[in-house]
């Protein structure tokens, strides 16, 4: 493998990994903020417990997003210096603004929230969390503005072979970004929904299995109490409410991703027709959506692919909103792309060994075809499971089945899979371009960049391989640690996040007590921080 291939693997691995933590941060942050708001307004102790418990898991996950996020900003310059030089004038700004206007807000106000349970007034403390959550939304917006410019460059003119920003409004209101942002946010909420549902299901199941909750003759739950800190009737309320919130969030967010995804499909049909065709492994022009295509879809050779089951009209609907528009297949698009962007890679040293070679305009269809289906499949599955879960728990608790419980817990992974598949699809579907051409701009000044030209010329394959191995190993170890800690705190239940339940039961309607602190030493209460470390 050469430097380019290794750098691409590295970007893919580190980005997909980073985007495991990010959607959970965004989605769970919003959910926890809503929970704390309900507690603030009603004083219902169940909601304080929910805030603390889900907030703890949120933080365990949040830190991983922070740690892996720094890699993202650095590796543009480290591994993709030619890309950074080419796009810097327009791409750097959203990145800088993300740090200045979003990361600062997120990190500072989250610090206030973590340590300020005692120090701040209740309302201000709650506001800090909301500000951090809104910060995470802004962060998503800015980074998607940057990404969308790579999918659909706007607001620039070419000067000396580089795109120079001339219309910031166009860049920051790129229609590609305006539909991708809600799509991503709904995707993040779907992750949080599944997370709540699976974990709450587990706890309700344990309560039944341990004989705390029983089921009456009419099938309705009878919530009980155990003489263990935190396993009282309020605990039951925590889990059943969490489960229902999770299920509803999962269903709403699936509907949201479907609606926004539909808009994205229609834009993609105009902006990146090859990606659309590759999503379908559609070789010939047509209207049908492939339910199952077989053959060697990864070969990029259309003659190998046979669509076994096809629903006529659906592809046209996805692309254009009617049932008759012919959607161009890969074969006719190749000719169009060759005419517009050249048949060969320019004979320029920045392309290394690839200089002068023929351009492969078709993305790896195995990835685009199955990535597209995995995204929709996992997303739909999670929403369906949420609906079934609501039905199964209509009488107040979960069935005794261990297998159903396991299904609910492993179901947590489905929305993660949908998120990852969606990003892999959209990023690999853009190849061979790192900046995809905007078909509305014509002539010699077209703004596009081949991925092959983007990698750092001065960096050796060995260096990038080193970082690929080092980062992958560290990420793998940290994933084990994170999951281990999440499992530990999940099994611990609410008491793991609320020491006051264990050490000194207090009236939860009174002021909040420190997160990790035991009972305060006399004379020091209200003077100290809420110690989190």
């Amino acid at each position: 493998m050469d430097a380019l291939e290794i750098a691409r693997w590295q970007f893919g691995i580190t980005t997909v990994y980073h985007f495991m933590m990010v959607p959970l941060t965004i989605g769970l942050g919003l959910v926890v903020a809503v929970m704390q708001t309900v507690w603030y307004r009603t004083g219902n102790p169940a909601y304080l417990r929910m805030t603390k418990f889900w907030g703890k898991l949120f933080l365990i996950n949040f830190i991983m997003g922070v740690a892996t996020g720094i890699v993202q900003e650095f590796q543009f310059g480290m591994a993709w210096s030619e890309y950074s030089r080419f796009v810097g004038d327009v791409f750097g700004a959203p990145l800088a603004l993300e740090a200045l206007l979003a990361f600062f807000v997120e990190s500072t106000f989250l610090g206030l929230w973590i340590f300020g349970w005692k120090q701040l007034k209740k309302g201000i403390h709650l506001a800090c969390l909301w500000i951090a959550v809104v910060g995470s939304f802004f962060s998503a917006y800015f980074i998607i503005v940057a990404n969308s410019w790579m999918q659909h460059p706007v607001g620039v003119t070419m000067i000396d072979g580089r795109p120079v920003m001339t219309d910031a409004w166009a860049v920051f209101t790129n229609n590609t970004a305006l539909v991708a942002v809600p799509h991503t946010l709904f995707g993040a909420l779907a992750v949080a929904g599944g997370f709540l549902l699976g974990i709450a299901w587990y706890h309700l199941w344990r309560r039944r299995r341990d004989g705390i909750d029983t089921v009456g003759a009419d099938g309705k739950v009878i919530a009980g109490e155990a003489a263990i800190p935190g396993r009282d009737r309020t605990d039951y309320t925590v889990w059943i409410k969490s489960l229902r919130i999770g299920a509803v969030v999962a269903m709403i967010s699936f509907a949201g991703t479907a609606l926004t995804g539909d808009l994205q499909g229609k834009l993609m049909f105009e902006q990146q027709p090859m990606k659309m065709a590759a999503a379908e492994a559609a070789c010939h022009d047509g209207t049908g959506f492939s339910v199952l295509s077989v053959g060697n879809v990864g070969s990029r050779n259309c003659d190998d692919i046979v669509a076994l089951i096809e629903v006529p009209g659906i592809l046209s609907y996805l692309a254009k909103g009617d049932f008759t528009t012919e959607v161009k297949g890969v074969n006719s698009l190749i000719e169009q792309y060759k005419a517009d962007y050249g048949t060969h890679v320019p004979d320029n040293p920045i392309y290394g060994d690839r200089a002068g070679q023929e351009v492969e305009y078709v993305p790896v269809m195995e990835v685009t075809y199955w990535g597209f289906r995995a995204m929709i499949g996992f997303g739909g599955l999670a929403a369906l499971a949420a609906l079934v879960a609501l039905w199964l728990t209509r009488k107040g608790t979960v069935p005794e089945s261990r297998w159903l419980m396991r299904l609910a817990v492993f179901g947590i992974l489905a929305p993660f899979g949908a998120n990852a598949a969606g990003w892999i699809f959209t990023e690999m579907g853009r190849q061979p371009f790192v900046v995809a051409p905007n078909p509305d701009l014509n002539g010699i000044d077209q703004v596009f960049m081949f991925t092959a030209a983007a990698v750092s010329p001065g960096v050796s394959a060995g260096e990038i391989l080193t970082s690929l191995i080092v980062l992958t190993l560290i990420y793998a170890v940290l994933l084990v640690v994170e999951v281990k800690l999440l499992v530990k705190y999940v099994r611990g239940g609410v008491a793991s996040a609320m020491p006051e339940l264990v050490h000194a039961p207090v009236d939860e309607n009174e002021d909040a007590t420190p997160r990790d602190g035991g009972p305060d030493k006399p004379g020091t209460s209200d003077d100290v921080l809420a110690f989190a470390y």
């Binding site: 830190i63 740690a67 720094i70 890699v71 543009f76 800088a96 155990a226 263990i228 001065g458 990790d516």
Partner: protein
């Protein structure tokens, strides 16, 4: 003279200085976890002094990096790609350090805590050293060709300024952390930190002074020399104030030292942002490395609104958590029964 690129050169110098000022002490506190703190309670005192703020401090690094990308893409691309392996080390250090803060207290065993304490201490040192090395090199030069790419192998970036810059930032961070701990803690930790501060100040500031003087020799001007002189005086003031027990003034004076040292270095390098050691014709300057005036103008407007806001709410955070932390405040570690493992205790109604 180009106005907007000059403004952005100053802005980036300010961001780096802000980063060194703020994360300086939390990197230093991280290093002190292993060489200063005597037991777990003291370690938790140290951690809780920076707990609410370290993540916000680290964003200064991301903002400095992002602003360099946006304002001087050629500087960003050349510096980051030329220093590939050192920056990888910085990333690894920052990853471990961040995760360690959050995870250290989550399992109640000595082995677990000790592992993460090492991650914090080593991560903090390597991050400080690596950032310092990068800054040392961007102010003194890298072997860059006409395209701005590194000429030579993975270690062709090496010069003694990398070591000097690395030691400078690590040393400053340690000293700054001692001043910070003297200001933010009470009891034994406070007094020991002050003693260490007075004793170690000359040694810990020497590398930064050496780096600053080196840059003056390479490209200094009269005014940068004066500023450097002010910095040295500030260091002496810090020492005297700490001896007298004025912890707040010592902390401020050491901050003045940093601002002065940093201004003298960046000022001396200006208008070059990254010299080439191969041929001065390949130097990256504010003119040939910057973004368009349109982009810089846009960023200026946003920064004028955004940066004061950031400074305001971060300052508020320090105000909220202004009280000193001491060992007496640290509660016992919280161990909990896995709720689901205690079946024997179940009572039925």
């Amino acid at each position: 003279m180009e106005l907007l690129p000059t403004i952005w050169f100053i802005a980036i110098a300010v961001l780096w200085t802000g980063y060194l000022f703020l994360e300086g002490f939390d990197l230093g506190v991280g290093m002190l976890m292993k060489i200063f703190a005597r037991n777990n309670t003291e370690r938790r005192v140290l951690l809780n002094t920076i707990g609410p703020v370290w993540d916000g401090n680290e964003v200064w690094l991301l903002t400095a990096g992002g602003a360099t990308f946006a304002a001087f893409p050629f500087w960003y691309a050349s510096l980051f790609s030329a220093l590939y392996l050192p920056l990888l080390l910085v990333l690894v250090a920052l990853i471990f350090r961040a995760v360690a803060f959050e995870y250290r207290g989550k399992v109640d065993t000595d082995r677990w805590r000790n592992t993460w304490d090492w991650a914090i201490a080593a991560g903090s040192f390597l991050a400080a050293f690596g950032v310092g090395a990068a800054l040392g090199l961007t102010t003194t030069g890298l072997p860059l060709d006409a395209n701005g790419d590194r000429d030579g192998g993975p270690f062709a970036w090496f010069s003694w300024y990398a070591v000097l810059g690395g030691l400078a930032v690590a040393g400053f961070a340690l000293l700054h952390a001692l001043a910070f701990l003297a200001l933010k803690t009470d009891g034994d930790v406070r007094h020991r930190a002050r003693r260490w501060f007075v004793r170690l100040l000359p040694v810990l500031l020497l590398p930064m002074a050496g780096w600053a003087i080196g840059v003056q020799v390479l490209s200094g001007e009269a005014w940068t020399l004066v500023v450097l002189g002010v910095a040295v005086v500030a260091a002496a003031v810090a020492w005297a104030q700490a001896r007298k027990g004025n912890e707040g003034r010592a902390f401020l004076a050491i901050g003045v030292f940093l601002v002065g040292g940093s201004a003298s270095i960046f000022g001396a390098v200006f208008p070059v942002v990254l010299p080439s050691t191969i041929d001065p014709a390949f130097n990256l300057t504010i003119a040939n490395a910057s973004s368009s005036d349109y982009t810089l103008g846009l960023m200026s407007i946003v920064a004028c609104v955004g940066l004061p806001l950031v400074i305001a709410y971060q300052a508020w955070t320090y105000w909220v958590f202004r009280r000193r932390v001491s060992a007496a405040h640290i509660p016992e570690a919280h161990s909990f029964l896995p709720a689901v493992a205690a079946k024997a205790l179940i009572r039925k109604d």
